[in-house]
Structure formats: C-alpha cells, structure tokens
Assembly symmetry: C2
Homo-oligomer: 280 residues x 2
DNA sequence: TGTTCGCATTGATTCATATCAACTTCGAAG
DNA sequence: CTTCGAAGTTGATATGAATCAATGCGAACA
C-alpha cells in the first residue's frame, strides 16, 4: 500500500543517477508522485483533483525522517510547512530546566508548521519513521492564489487545530489525571478508527513518558491512571503495554466528566477553580 | 477618540428614525463607519486601504455588548466572526460540573470565531463593554477572494493564535503557580504597552476568578502568587487590586524559569514530568 | 451611617499528584 | 546463557496547590 511511495523514492534515486548531475535530492521535482501516496485521500490532498495535485507536487519535496529524529527545532526560522504522509511525530516545547510539554501528536494527513510567526514555536520529533512532503512557506502564497481549495482546506485545518488546542487547555487546566488519560484515549481511539481499519488492540506508538509530557503528568501517574481505567473495565492493557478500548462510551463519559446515572466516578472531592455554577 | 464610533451609532439611530421603516438595526449597512473606528490602525483593518475598508464595512454589522453579557455560546452553530474594536472579552469552556477553563482574553484588534468547526468550540463573555464588527462566515469566503490582504492577515492571525495556544499548554501543563501568574502578567504587560499609552498602574480588567480560570488555579492560589511576586518586589498591588509591573525583566525570567545568576527562585523541588534532560 | 454584598487576602488543613524507591519484563549485545 | 539498559508498574512518602474558614474592604443602597 505504501510501497508506492518507496517506489517513487527509488525512481527519484534513478533520476538522480541517470542525469549524472550534482542535483540535490531534495530539490528534484517529482510530478505524479501524489498518485500513489498513502495520504492521497485524506488531509490536504483530499480536496484536490489529480491535476491540481501534480502542481502541488511540483512545489513540494519528499522527506523521510527516522524514529527519534528531530525535524523542526523551536526558535529556528520557519521556512517550511510539512504535510505528513505516514508515521507519527510529536510536537513539543521545552523549558530551560528540562520540563517538557508535548502540544500534539501528528500523523498521516496532518499539516505541520502553522504554529509559527517568523520562527517555529515548537519542536517536532518522529516517534516512528515519518514520511512527509515539505513546502516552502514563500511558495504557499502562490499556491493559495492558484488553488483556493487548498487555501480553504488549510484555513479549516487551522481552525480545527485551534479547537483541539482549546480542548487541550481545558484538559491541562481543569481535568484530573484519570480524566486526562480517558480524554486522550478517547480521542486517539476515534482517530485510529477513522484513519486505519478499526482492528482492536492497537499499540500506542508513544511511550508513557510521551503521554506524561502530553497530559501534564508524570509517567508514574500515567501508569496509575491506566491501571485505574483497567480496573474499571474500560480498557485493557496488553502484555506489550498496548491499550485496547473496551467501553468507548464509558471512556468518553469519564473524559467529559459526564455522569450517566448509575456508576459515576465523578471527582469525590470538591470542584476546582472559581466554582462557577454549572448552567446546564 | 472613540466618540466617533458613538457618533456613528447615533447616526444609525437617526437613519432608522428618519426612514420610518421597520429596519432591524443590526441589518443596516453603514459605509464609512470604519474611518473613525478606534481599531482602524490595528488588527485586521490595518492591512486595508480606505477603499477596501468601505467594502468590508458593507458586509459587517456593528454590535455592542454590555459587561457580563455572553455573545458566543459553545455548541451554537458558528455563523459569525467578530472583530473587536473596543473592550475586553473572555473566551472559555465549561465542564458539566462547573469547572471552567478560560482559553484567552481578547481585546481591540482581535478576531474571534476561528476556533470553530461547524459549531463554536468556546463561549465568549464581555468583561467590559465590548464593541465589535460582526461578519457572516459565508461572506468571508467572498471577502477572501476579493481581498487577499485580508485572507493573509487572518491566516497570520490564526497562526499566531496557535503559537499562543501552545504557549498556554506549556503553562498549564508544566509551570508552577507563580510562573503561571508571571507569564500572564508579562504577556499582558506587553500587550498593554503595545496597545495603549504605557501609563503605569493599569488595573487588570478581569477578576481574580477569571485569572484563576485562565491559569488553571483557584482564586486563593492566584492571590498567594500575587503576594509572592509583590514580596519579591517584581510587581506592586494597588489598593484597588490593580497590578503594576516594577521589574519587567525579572518578571519575564520567572515566567520562563530562566535563572539569571544571583537570585534564582527556581522550583526548590525536583522537576516534574519525564525528566527530559535539558539540552540548552 | 449602618447593612449588605461582591471581591480579595491570608491562615489552617486536606488531598491529588509528584517524588523516591523497588521490582518486573523484554529485547539487544556480548 | 548472562548481562545490561530501556520501559513500565506499583508502593511509600513528600509537597504544591486545593479546600475550608475567617477577615478586610469598598461600593451600592436603604
């Protein structure tokens, strides 16, 4: 399924050698690459015709990074956008003393690079092998002018990113450890179901440390929260630490702190914050 | 300075009466309103010529809401965008049990309504009298096609919103109470200095409860953090609870947990999270 | 001019999560 | 097969911030 991408890379290599000229691999233009791309029918590219895609491919360059490799560094000049085709990466911010906050995980179909003024406001590291298309920021204005569909798509994506970001602020500012984990698992479950074939027992690609840095917790608390949800029968944790959702509805209820009658696991302690009286 | 806006409102009223027809005030088109707008040279409108502004005004409607009034409700169909001309509003999300997270404060020049898919992902309430221009979401596509400058402006604004959102995630997930407050005061100080004349001792428009809901704390902790910063000599708190920044550099250092030699107030306890080793 | 009430501050105590520590599992290297 | 280290789980203890509680203060108002 994704071997098409690899074939194209090999084709690139072939072109490079056959031309016998000092061409930078990353500078080679590859019309037609999109046709076999695994992300052809998701994300940004879904909105485009084959014809438009050819143009888009002409201003983008393929890029592959290995697991553990950092491909965006916070503070660097923001020259590129990235459109992920395969694999998962984490976006994060570090403090001088080592504290880290992961602001999101991105996968196939996701667009990376919006959160930047002149410099990137985040770093990005692959947690699996990641393949993507890189665009030049300066080129994007031209693309917008030529293809309103792309512009609209990107605008909608940015809007959705803001929705997700606000949801995460609520999580980090007001939810308990178990609620945070339930929220993440609920969201990831949906993402997986919508993206891949919904086979059960998908192992999470990120470590407990990544989860902790994403949820504003420690690895120990993440582990304990997983145990709590397991003991409630909402999830199961495999021997290889993979997580399966057993009761997705219950999981969502815990995530939203929405009690549904019988077994409520509402915070048995008082509410935090300014004790705003619920209107609903 | 802003009386021009009020004059225009009165003019509106005059037109309404003089026409003696059942015209909905909010539906009246007001060409030329922008000329005297206090936000003419900031935010979205800064990028436009007077001519373009006239067109923009023709597809927008003025709107004023009183302090305490909610003008966007989370979950409602997202039909409008708002461009704030005057006053401050808070954007927030509530949980069923009353917990609240304020995701941002918006003021003159800010654009409201990006964080929405088909429905608003947040609620908005004025914490001062707020005056703004309302745009129809459906109209905006037309505006984009006609004025690329607006489109670019809005795209940049969305990008910046994402930068701010990620910064807030770091704050909520990893910073201590004092660091959170210092971060907020540092940011607000800059915003005020850049927006209005930088007179000292500006009272914050939001209550301690708002601050708590913004910083993921309780009002008591906010109050204690303010006292801590006051005792350090970094800020002063007036009798009317207004806050003045005395040492902006020091404030920024505390906000970023960047120790600058002598007096460090680093967390005397160990670091939280996954103990990622600092690379810098 | 006293009452009330919203807002803020400060102290005492509790609690959810961090920290410290012990142990298990598993895969890679030797 | 043994060693080693990365990743994860679980228990005991510490602590930053939440909760509970008391007080102060200024504005609205009778």
């Amino acid at each position: 399924m994704e071997s098409a991408w690899e074939r194209d890379l090999q084709m690139l290599d072939y072109r490079y050698r056959s031309q016998r000229a000092p061409i930078n691999l990353s500078e080679v233009i590859i019309p037609g690459l999109c046709a076999g791309c695994g992300a052809r029918h998701i994300g940004l590219c879904e909105a485009l015709s084959d014809e438009d895609l050819n143009f888009l491919a002409s201003v983008s360059k393929p890029l592959a990074v290995q697991k553990g490799q950092t491909f965006v560094v916070e503070g660097d000049a923001a020259r590129s956008f990235f459109n992920i085709n395969h694999g998962v990466a984490k976006l994060y911010k570090d403090m001088p003393d080592g504290r880290r906050q992961i602001t999101g995980f991105v996968g196939a179909g996701d667009f990376v690079g919006l959160a930047a003024d002149s410099c990137y406001a985040f770093s990005a590291e692959a947690i699996q092998e990641v393949r993507m298309c890189r665009f030049d920021r300066s080129e994007l204005r031209n693309v917008f002018g030529r293809f309103p569909a792309i512009e609209q798509r990107l605008f909608d994506f940015a809007s959705h990113e803001l929705v997700v970001a606000q949801e995460q602020m609520l999580l980090l500012g007001r939810k308990t450890a178990v609620e945070r984990l339930a929220s993440f698992l609920d969201g990831w479950h949906h993402r997986i179901v919508h993206t891949e074939d919904s086979n059960s027992g998908h192992g999470l690609p990120m470590t407990r440390a990544d989860l902790a840095d994403y949820l504003g917790l420690t690895i120990e608390t993440v582990s304990r929260a997983l145990s709590s949800l397991r003991k409630l029968g909402v999830i199961s944790v495999a021997a290889d630490h993979g997580v399966s959702v057993l009761q997705s509805t219950r999981l969502a209820e815990i995530a939203q702190a929405a009690s549904s009658g019988s077994t409520k696991i509402q915070p048995m302690y008082g509410l935090r914050g300014s004790k705003t009286v619920a209107t609903a």
